[in-house]
């Protein structure tokens, strides 16, 4: 049920907020310490507990992310080159188009949603004889090139003689010192402080901020989750869902909203933009993830499909039932 424990890293070149140029070069890292599946595979009532990486969930999320080629390939600040013109037949144009769609799908690969990492507290040795010899800690990093970063040894000898494994923050810092990743700084830039985040949200720079966050932090770290949570909450408060539509972060946002049961705003936004199929798949995702909720049970009883799902959801679960029903009626009148 859960996907195998492999994480595909995409190197992101982001020099500043406005200039974001994405380049894909897959580097597969064996995350043997990180496991996708939770400890219990069945949730309440014997239904299988849905994880972010499940096939069904991923399919629904890719579908509602959309594929707006104009947005994915929008012009990015690059070195000035004279434009290249190509003379193509219809067949060649179609082929170029399909290649562009493939490339867009690769660029829209969803950012990982992993459970938060637990702090490392292993002590390897405690040599009390060494107490008081040094005033500074020694941090020993293993720089063997072939070991994956998650399995690298980073060990700290404290001044009181204790030899312990380094904490996650120390590990990230050391690995960035000896194996620098492009776009990542050793100390996180001050944009991730809460006061500065508000400025970013005011300027509608959510997508660039999330790209920066992905470059700077590991996906299971607390700061990554906090920045993403605050961004999604701000988007939900302001209703600016279209900022993230057709980007890699839409799936994560939809997952976060579904897990916290705040789907109403997104649903209304979809209906207002006439994306009824997306709305239906969103409600089916909600029913998949919360199989014990009233709308899911009703839907299973009535075996609802399509617009009926939306009506069931509007009746049972949503707080803005009036909005959803109005939007449905408007949609049905036009068709």
């Amino acid at each position: 049920m859960a996907a195998p424990g492999m994480v595909h890293w995409v190197r992101i070149w982001s020099s500043c907020l406005k200039n974001v140029q994405r380049q894909g070069s897959g580097r597969v890292v064996c995350a043997s310490r990180v496991s996708y599946s939770s400890s219990s595979d069945t949730g309440e009532g014997g239904f299988p507990k849905m994880q972010f990486a499940d096939e069904k969930v991923q399919d629904i999320l890719t579908q509602i992310t959309g594929l707006d080629l104009q947005k994915v390939f929008r012009p990015v600040k690059e070195e000035l080159k004279p434009p290249a013109y190509k003379l193509m037949t219809d067949a060649q144009l179609q082929e170029a188009n399909s290649r562009a769609v493939e490339e867009a799908r690769r660029r829209l690969k969803m950012t990982p949603v992993l459970p938060e990492r637990k702090p490392i507290q292993d002590i390897l040795a405690h040599d009390k004889v060494l107490a008081g010899m040094e005033t500074a800690k020694y941090v020993f990093t293993d720089i063997t090139f072939e070991t994956p970063h998650r399995q690298r040894f980073v060990v700290v000898r404290e001044p009181d003689g204790c030899l312990r494994k380094a904490s996650w923050e120390e590990r990230d810092r050391m690995i960035q010192v000896y194996f620098p990743k492009h776009g990542r700084k050793i100390t996180p830039p001050p944009i991730f402080q809460e006061a500065n985040l508000k400025n970013v949200y005011r300027q509608d720079q959510h997508e660039a901020l999330l790209d920066l966050c992905l470059a700077q932090f590991e996906p299971d770290s607390a700061e990554y989750k906090k920045v993403h949570r605050l961004t999604y909450e701000d988007i939900e408060k302001q209703g600016k869902y279209n900022l993230l539509r057709s980007t890699r972060h839409f799936g994560g946002m939809a997952w976060h909203l579904v897990m916290s049961r705040n789907v109403d705003g997104l649903l209304v936004d979809m209906l207002q933009r006439d994306l009824v199929h997306d709305a239906v798949s969103l409600v089916s995702l909600f029913n998949l993830v919360h199989p014990q909720s009233e709308s899911a049970e009703e839907a299973r009883k009535l075996n609802a499909k399509g617009l009926d799902l939306l009506k069931v959801y509007a009746k049972e679960e949503s707080q803005r039932a009036g909005y959803i029903e109005l939007a449905l009626q408007a949609h049905q009148r036009t068709f």
Binding site: A131, M133, K137, V139, F140
Partner: protein, 136 residues
Amino acid sequence: MKASALLKRYHGGFVVIRLALGGCTNRPFYRIVAAFNKRARDSKYIEQLGTYDPLPNKYNEKLVSLNYGRIKYWIGCGAHTTKPVAKLLGLSGFFPLHPMTVTEAERKRKRAELMKAQPDGDRAEEEEQDKKEQEA
């Protein structure tokens, strides 16, 4: 790995893992290096196996990087280690603790206890020294 067959004046040499000094004035920086023992300290080495920064950074850490895989290879080839490298490897847990590390720690602790036990005696010595400097 042997020294070149043409070197007629280098017999019985061996490979050492030692610290090669670099950096600038008042800012040392060591590279942990496998080199022939007769070579100059900072000159051509066989392979770099890591680094050691003796000055603590803003998080009060002294950074040491060690390529354990290659260190194991060179020790397997019969390389010797110098005292500071052996001490670092002992502190990292790769080697057992160097006996001099333990001895120095104990000496430091004894000195610290002496300083704490006789603060007045020290101050009297310092005053005597100041008087002598004034007279001279």
